[in-house]
């Protein structure tokens, strides 16, 4: 369901492309295939690594660590767990909603979600292959910063 919008947009673009220029469209599809091959090995490695991490840092563990009144400790746990774990957002957001229902605080869940989406310690090796060490590390530093700012504001108003 979540990928639906993307399929619709790309489907329309592909049709427009096909009616405008069949040759170019064929070239684009060849390019898509080649590009997929160039990137897929890194992706497969990441998927396996994600699978291993998900065994160690499971949603159950996360639920247990975010009990009621976990306070500043809970926030730190959320940020760190988010940074080292790897789960699709359609699992993470319902998990976050569930945690709040079960008594976890908004700041803890905010830190976890934001850090999960933006900070990638496990995928840092892969990121460096694309953007080099300096830019990748800086991007992650700012993702940590973005998460902390988000937590501080949420802590102040909610």
């Amino acid at each position: 369901m979540l990928d639906g919008i993307l399929y619709v947009i790309v489907g329309i673009l592909l049709m427009v492309s096909f009616f405008k220029d069949k040759k170019k469209t064929k070239k684009a599809l060849m390019k898509a295939w080649k590009s997929l091959l160039k990137n897929i090995k890194l992706m497969i490695g990441m998927m396996i690594l994600m699978g291993i991490i998900f065994v160690i840092i499971s949603p159950d563990l996360i639920g247990n660590l975010f009990g009621q009144d976990s306070g500043l400790f809970g926030i730190m746990v959320g940020l760190v767990l988010g940074a080292v774990s790897f789960m699709p957002s359609f699992i993470a957001f319902p998990l976050g909603a569930n945690l709040i229902e079960n008594g976890a605080g908004y700041p803890q869940v905010a830190g976890f979600i934001s850090s999960l989406m933006g900070v990638g310690i496990i995928s840092l090796g892969m990121e460096i292959q694309y953007f080099g060490k300096k830019a990748s590390i800086l991007r992650n530093v700012f993702a940590v910063l973005a998460s902390i700012v988000f937590v501080v504001i949420i802590g102040g108003v909610m």
Binding site: T25, G45, L49, R139, F150
Partner: protein, 177 residues
């Protein structure tokens, strides 16, 4: 040896999986089934993402990319970067090949990092879910605070990269896009 050198991530993850199996067969099986689930999830978004990359590559010449997202594109370039990030689907790692193509085509680096920032904070489908489950206050603070920091970060990253860093990034982009 070359295979190991060229596929470090794959080799490390496979060794990790073997170690987990040695530690506990159950955990190893669990990790394998998680990995298969991940393949299914990410596999769903890969076809449209890579078709989009192919179409962008063929239909958008370098000059056009520079005009819309290059050095002189101004606020327009930033808005396009955010929009591109917002319609994306899948984990951040799926955005890396798109970013590589943008770099190859001459997009301004800070916009490429803003695109990655938007990808991690304003995904449209997730945005809807977030609004419904966490409320508008939470969601708006999330999106605006994250985007602001990612914008500042994107500018600082671009400024702090030296010419040899830039050459390295260009070379890497050529390899993946």
């Amino acid at each position: 040896m070359d295979f190991i050198k060229n596929n470090k991530l794959l080799v490390v993850s496979l060794i990790g999986l073997v170690v987990l199996f040695l530690f506990s067969v159950d955990k190893g099986l669990e990790a394998s089934s998680n990995a298969i689930d991940n393949f299914k999830t990410v596999g769903m978004v890969l076809p449209p993402i890579f078709v989009l990359i192919g179409l962008l590559d063929v239909w958008v010449p370098k000059e056009t990319m520079i005009k819309f997202m290059g050095k002189g594109s101004g606020i327009k370039g930033g808005l396009i970067a955010i929009l591109l990030g917002a319609v994306g689907a899948g984990p951040l790692i799926v955005a890396f090949p798109i970013a590589a193509l943008l770099i190859k085509k001459g997009a301004k680096l800070s916009y490429v990092f803003l695109f990655l920032g938007a990808w991690t904070s304003v995904k449209l489908p997730i945005f809807m879910f977030e609004l419904a489950n966490f409320g508008s206050k939470f969601t708006l603070i999330h999106v605006s605070s994250n985007l602001l920091i990612y914008l500042i970060g994107a500018i600082i990253i671009e400024v702090s990269l030296k010419s040899n860093d830039l050459t390295e990034i260009q070379e890497k982009a050529e390899r993946f896009a």
